[in-house]
Each structure stands twice: as C-alpha cells, then as structure tokens.
C-alpha cells in the first residue's frame, strides 16, 4: 500500500484544501492520472498520482484543509492483495514530501491508523457502517486500541458533516495569493545570496528568422518570440548545468532534466510559474503548444501538481510591459532565474561601425552558494550564441 499525501505545491505551502476527488475508492489509477483537485493559496491544482494501482480508501473529505504531507488516500499498488498490507511509509515519499510523524495532524493519524489496521473494526461495526453508508476511514474508534465499535459508527452517522471550506471570494483569493508570494519571496531574499549579471543580446537574427518562419505557418501554429528565448535558455542550461538545480538545505542538488518554470501573470494580479517539462528536448512547435496550454490552464486555474512542483529554474519576461531588464528573486528551492526585458532598438557597434539593432537584455539571477559569476557569464554567453543561430533551436 502507498499513501497519497497532500503534496507540497510551493516553496512556503503549509496546507491545502481538498476541493474535489476525481476518483473514488475502488477506482483503478495509472501514473499521471489526476486524482484530486487541491486549492492552495495561489491556485487550484489538479493533483496527479505517481503510481499504478487501485484506490483503497479516501481519507480526507472534500472541503477539508489539511497540512502538507497529510495522507489523502491509500492506494493499493499493482499486484497487491486488497487490504492485505499495511500502509508503507517507505512507499509514500515517491508521491510527495512528508512531514515528520510528530507534525502529522490529528485527522491524519486517525484515518491512517484505521486504514493500516492498527485500529481494528468490529464485524458488527463494519456491517452497520455498510448499512448506513458510513465511511469507516472517517470514524474515530473509542474501543481498546482505537477499535471501531457499533456506537462509533452510529455517532459518525449522526454527526453533522464538517462544513466544507467555502470557496473564497476573489478578493480573498487575491489576498492569499499575495501572502503566498510574500512568504516565498521573503524567504528568497532572506536565505539566498543573490547575484545578478546581464548581457545585451543582438536579436537581429532571431527576429528575422522568426518573421520568416511565421510567414510560413498558419496562424494557429505561429511562434511567439518568447518561445525562442525559452528554448535558447533550456539549451544554454545544458552547458552550465549547475544552474539547473535545487538547494537541499545545505547543498545543491543538480537536476538532470530541465523543467522550465514559466512566470505567468494572472488576471486580477499575482503570478504562478509552472513547469514545461523537458523543455530542452522539445521542438519550438512543441514548446509553443505547451506554452499556450500552460498559460490557458494557469489562468483557468487548472494546473497540475507536477507542473507546480517540478520547475528546476524560472524564466520570466517583463518586456511586454516595457521593462528594460529584470532583476528578480529566485523562487526557492531553485537556484537561478533568467529574465528578459523589452525587445528594443539600440545603437550597437557592428564591425567597427554604428548600427541600430533590435536587442534584448537577458539577466541571470543566481544563488551564490551554488555558482559564481564566471559560470553565470558562461551561461549568458551560451544564450547569446544560441540566439544568433535561431534555426538550430
């Protein structure tokens, strides 16, 4: 058995509200299936499951707010007999981070122990629960060693259901998102020794190539130039892989796969930075498709848990609103952020003469615990070089 726990979906996320179950007890699930919807302070997230199996028990009711790491469901993995094995804590970390046992909430301890068999159920109680339609996972046993008895089932059947958390009004959601961003960015500023370096990149080749490319494409398949920047960043990261990492308390942990977190501003304010997975391996057409889909779902409030949890670096562009350059804060536990300013004509020297060229300021913000300015500069040079050869992206 494996526990499916409330995942951590942001640097400072402490709890989430289970808005809705998409699967029920007895349903078969496969890796990647969306099993539940969770509301965090920043967004509603579709939570995926990361193994194949059958849902044995749902442990948390819709509307309940529970801390990160709280078991939400028990999943019987492929091949396991129904109810035959206790919940294995060892299997759970594959799903999401878990808090220390002492931090587990009362509700979580209750339901897990019942599921694990530590709190037995009397046959009479089980039969009564079936008759009354009471979910035994939600019953507190009062017998010896927490044994669930008939009276416990009756009490549960007559107990008023906990009122689900009301869907917060837009203003309240906005305030909570601001708080979540404040917490994450305060932590970033407090804990990460940032440094910023920048490079002004001549975009003549990239702009010309993109114009020609888009002339050939039907409108629904055209590329935004931000996608060209995104691909160039992803490829440059291969050359300076230490920037594609997370900080693990006292050391960096490099990540092999490049999951580019894309900063997306939300209507009404706030932002999220969900991942495009394996961005370096996708074609520009695939990246554009993923980018469109991600923006649409971010603004519709239907991001997936892996997209929130997986970014290994963040990429942001403020050029459309006129900023010339971006000097951002790193989103923990990531160790770098790449920013782009406005595409604008600048006077630049070309072959000893003065020319006016479309240019963009690319900025690298990096964690000095992980990387030094020299390597950061190598990254920006690689980015520049790649953008001079856009047809190879």
């Amino acid at each position: 058995m494996a526990e499916f726990v409330m995942p951590i979906l942001g640097a400072d996320m402490e709890a989430g509200t289970l808005v809705a179950w998409r699967k029920q007890a007895g349903d078969r699930v496969a890796r990647g299936d969306i099993i539940a919807e969770v509301e965090t302070d920043k967004a509603d997230i579709e939570v995926e499951v990361f193994l194949d199996g059958v849902i044995e028990t749902l442990l948390v009711r819709e509307g309940e707010k529970v801390p990160v790491g709280t078991p939400l469901a028990v999943i019987r993995e492929e091949g396991a007999a129904p109810g035959a094995q206790p919940v294995s804590p060892a299997s759970a970390p594959a799903l999401a981070a878990r808090p220390a046992p002492s931090a587990a909430p009362k509700a979580a301890r209750r339901v897990v122990s019942a599921t694990a068999g530590a709190a037995p159920v009397s046959p009479a109680a089980r039969e009564l629960a079936r008759e009354l339609g009471v979910d035994l996972a939600a019953v507190v046993g009062t017998g010896p060693e927490g044994r669930i008895q008939r009276k416990d089932v009756l009490a549960a059947a007559h107990a008023p259901r906990e009122a689900p958390t009301a869907v917060p009004a837009a203003a309240e959601r906005q305030a909570r998102m601001r708080q979540a961003i404040a917490a994450a960015m305060s932590r970033s500023a407090r804990e990460i020794p940032h440094f910023h370096i920048s490079s002004t990149i001549d975009m003549t080749q990239a702009v010309a190539w993109l114009r020609e490319e888009n002339e050939r494409r039907p409108i629904a398949e055209r590329l935004l130039y931000g996608v060209v920047l995104l691909k160039a960043v992803a490829l440059a990261l291969r050359e300076v892989p230490e920037l594609n990492a997370v900080w693990a308390g006292d050391h960096p942990e490099p990540r092999e796969r490049i999951h580019a977190g894309i900063a997306i501003s939300l209507r009404g304010g706030g932002l999220v930075a969900p991942a495009i997975h394996d961005a370096d391996t996708l074609s520009l057409t695939q990246l554009m498709s993923s980018f469109r889909d991600l923006v649409q779902r971010a603004r519709a409030g239907s991001l997936r848990s892996s997209e929130i949890a997986d970014p290994t670096i963040t990429i942001t562009s403020l050029g459309e609103t006129g900023a010339e350059a971006v000097y951002g804060l790193i989103y923990p536990p990531q160790v770098a952020l790449v920013g782009f300013g406005r595409l604008t004509d600048r006077v630049v020297p070309v072959d000893g003469a003065i020319a006016v060229r479309p240019t963009i300021v690319a900025t690298l913000t990096a964690d000095h615990r992980v990387v030094d300015g020299h390597r950061g500069s190598v990254f920006l040079a690689a980015l520049d070089r790649l953008l001079q050869e856009p047809s190879t992206l």
Binding site: E215, I219, R222, L224, S265, R267, R292, V295, Q296
Partner: protein
C-alpha cells in the same frame, strides 16, 4: 458580414481573451493594449479566434495595423469585403 457585425464579433472575441475587461468602456480609437491587460499570448489567441470565426488569415506583417478597435474593424472589413 457588415462592419457592425464584425465590430460585435471582435468585441466578443476580445472579451473571451480578457474576460475581466469591460468591453463597453473600450475607447475604439485608443490602443487596446493601453486599455486592457493583454499580452502577446492573448493577442495571438484573439487572432486565432478571428481566423476561426471569420475565416480571415492575418499575416504577422499586418499585426501592427491592428492596434485599436477601429483599425481592427477596418482591417477585417476590408479583408472580408
């Protein structure tokens, strides 16, 4: 399709990409991006919707001609005519 019908369609499709915006308050001769918080992805989605609904393909080279409600309607009317 009349110019009025095109204008109505454009406003509806704009409203789809920027649902929080008040289309009734949109000044037709002012830059849309100065009045509504839309980005390049919204703009592309709007143009894709125009293409799908009106069957008018808009080359990227013509994007600069489509900055206000009035010049969008004029551009599309000319193309549709």
């Amino acid at each position: 399709m009349t110019e009025t019908e095109i204008r109505t369609t454009v406003l509806r499709l704009l409203g789809d990409v920027a649902p929080e915006a008040d289309m009734a308050a949109l000044k037709p001769d002012k830059r849309i991006r100065d009045q509504i918080d839309i980005d390049s992805m919204d703009a592309l989605n709007f143009l894709i919707a125009i293409d799908a609904e009106l069957g008018i393909d808009i080359p990227e080279a013509d994007y600069p001609k489509m900055t206000t409600l009035d010049n969008i309607v004029a551009y599309l009317s000319a193309k549709a005519g």
